[in-house]
Symmetry: C2
Amino acid sequence: MDLRQLRYFVGVARERNFTRAAQQLNIAQPPLSRQIQALEDELGVALLIRNSRPVRLTEAGRLFYEQALQVLGRVDQMRAATRRVGLNQNSVLSIGFVASTLYGGLPSLVRKLRHRAPDIEIQVLEMMSIQQIPALKEGRIDIGFGRLHHSDSGVVEIVLREERLTVAIPRDTPLAQDSAPLPIGALTGQKLIVYPKEPRPGYADQVLNLLHGHDVRPAEVHEVREIQTALGLVAAETGLCVIPSSARQMRSDVHYRLLEGERATSPVILYHRVGDTSPYIDLVKEVIKEMYAENPSWLSAEHNLPTRPSFAE
Amino acid sequence: MDLRQLRYFVGVARERNFTRAAQQLNIAQPPLSRQIQALEDELGVALLIRNSRPVRLTEAGRLFYEQALQVLGRVDQMRAATRRVGLNQNSVLSIGFVASTLYGGLPSLVRKLRHRAPDIEIQVLEMMSIQQIPALKEGRIDIGFGRLHHSDSGVVEIVLREERLTVAIPRDTPLAQDSAPLPIGALTGQKLIVYPKEPRPGYADQVLNLLHGHDVRPAEVHEVREIQTALGLVAAETGLCVIPSSARQMRSDVHYRLLEGERATSPVILYHRVGDTSPYIDLVKEVIKEMYAENPSWLSAEHNLPTRPSFAE
DNA sequence: CCGACATAATACCCACTGAGTATAATTGTA
DNA sequence: TACAATTATACTCAGTGGGTATTATGTCGG
C-alpha cells in the first residue's frame, strides 16, 4: 500500500467517478483505474461497486475512505509540524504518560503548557510506567508521568502526590451497601480483577503486593489488559477491582469505596533525565506548582494523602 | 512523501545505523541512504545528524519518528479493519457526533455497542451538527449526535434530552459570588464569548438567538473556534460563556451557574436517515433506552429538563 | 427494447524511479 | 596517524507508474 493509492482512492470516493477524479489528480483515467485495482488486490477486498453509475462504495470502501482521509490528514500534519520544528528551530517536548493520568490533571497541564509556550511542539505518548524509563534514556520522551518507583540512576523521579486507592464494586452486592472507606482486609476471599496484564511489573503488581503485605489473599485473581475492561467486568459482577481514585469517573454503573489501609495509595510520579538542562523541565514543574495552587477538584484532599511534591516547598 | 520512506526512516531511527537498518529492511544500504535524503529534501529539514556515530536524530527527526510510527500503525489498523469488513461481510456503523457529547454518554454508548455487537465495526467521526445532515445523506455516517434542529426531509431527528445551559464565569467577579441559577437577564451588558465560529449556523447562533429572544443584549460578543478556547478566555476574565451543563467538567478553574429562563436548554438529538432499515439503528436506540434506565450521573435531573426521547414511552 | 452517450477496463509502450554493485569519503578510535 | 566502521556517490538495470488508443460495460431517452 502506498500514500499515492490512498490519495487516488480518496479522489475516486469523493467524486464517485474515475474520469473526473483522474482530472483532479492530474493523471489519465486508465492509470487511476489500475492503481485502485492494485489496492483492492492487495487488500483482497472490493472497495467500489463498478456496475453502477455513479460508482458506489462498498461497506469496506466506506470504512477505508474515512480512514484514508484521516491518515492523509495525519501525514500533512506531520509534514507541517516537522518543517516548523526543523526550520524555526523551536523544540519538541515529548511527554509520556500512563492512561490513568488522563483522568487527572494531564489534559489541563498540556493545555496550559501549549498556552504558556506556544513556540514548543508538545507531543504526548501513552505508555506504561516502566516503558517510560528506557524511553527517557533513549530520548524518545523528555518527561514522564507514571505510577511506579524505579531505581535507574539516569532518571530523576519526583512524587507529585500520593493518590488514595478506590475499590470498584458491583452494584447490589453486600459490599456495595455501604459507601464508607473499605478496610483492606475486607478483600480477603474476594474475586479480584487487576490490570494491566502486561508489561510486568506494573500497576497490577503494585496492587497485589499491597494486598500481600497486609496478608490479604483474594479468592481468585483475574488479569485483564486495561482498566476499561476491568471496570466492565466489575459491572458484570465478575469481581472487585482496585483503581486510583481519579479513575472513578470512568464508569458510573459500579459502586466505589475508598480503600483504607497502610500504603493503600498509588503515587503519581514525574520522571525526567538526570542533568536535563532544558528550560522546559522547569516550565513543567512551574505549571504543576500553579495547578496545585489552584487546587482543582481532581486534587481534592478527600482522594489524596496530604503530600506535596518535593519542589513545591 | 511515501509510506516506504516512512518505513525506511523508522528503521534507521530505531537502529541508529544505516547498514543494519538496511539489512532489516531487506535492501542494500545505498538506496536506503538516498531515500532518507529524498525525504529530508522534500521536508526541507534535516532529520538525522550524520557526523556522529552512532547516527543521532535531530529534534525534528525525533518528532517525525514518533509520528511516523503512529501513521504506520494507523495504516496497518486500516488494512486489517478493511479486510475484516470486506471478507466477513460484517458491516460498519459510522457515528458522527459533536464534541460536547464526548462529555456526556457517547463514550459509554460506543463501549456498550461494541460489547453488544462485537461483529460490527464502529467508527466515530467528530463533526458539527449541520455537517452531520449531508454526511448522513451521502452515507458517510449512519447515526449522528448533534444539538441543532434541522428541516431536511431525508433525515429523522429524535430529541434525546433537553440539557440545561450553564454559564461559565471568571472567578472573583461579582457574578461568581453566588452559585444559584442565573436569570438570563443578568447577561445584559456582559461581555460574551461564543463558539464555534464556523460553520454557521451553529451552537453559537443558538445561544445568541436565545438571548435575543429574551431581549438580552450583551456588551460585546467574541467568537472563538471551540469550547476549549472559550473556557480559556473565561478563565482569563475576557467574558462569560454559555455552555451545555455536561461540559462543566472541562475546566475547574472557572465558576459555573445554571442558566435560568424559558428555552435556556440545548437539545441532544439523534439523527438518522429516513427509511434506514438497518437493525443497528434499533440497537442504538435500545442501548440508549437502557442507559436512560441506568440513569448515570451525566443524565442527572439537575442538569436536564425532565424530557424523555420519543421512542422511550 | 434499442441505440447513443458516458464511463470504466484493457493493451501496449515509454520514461523514470528505486534497487543493486562498486567505490570514494568521512568518522571514531587504537 | 592509520585502520576499521560506516555513510555517501557513481553508475547501471529492472520494474512500476503513467500515457495513448481502444474495447467493454452501463445508463438513459426514444
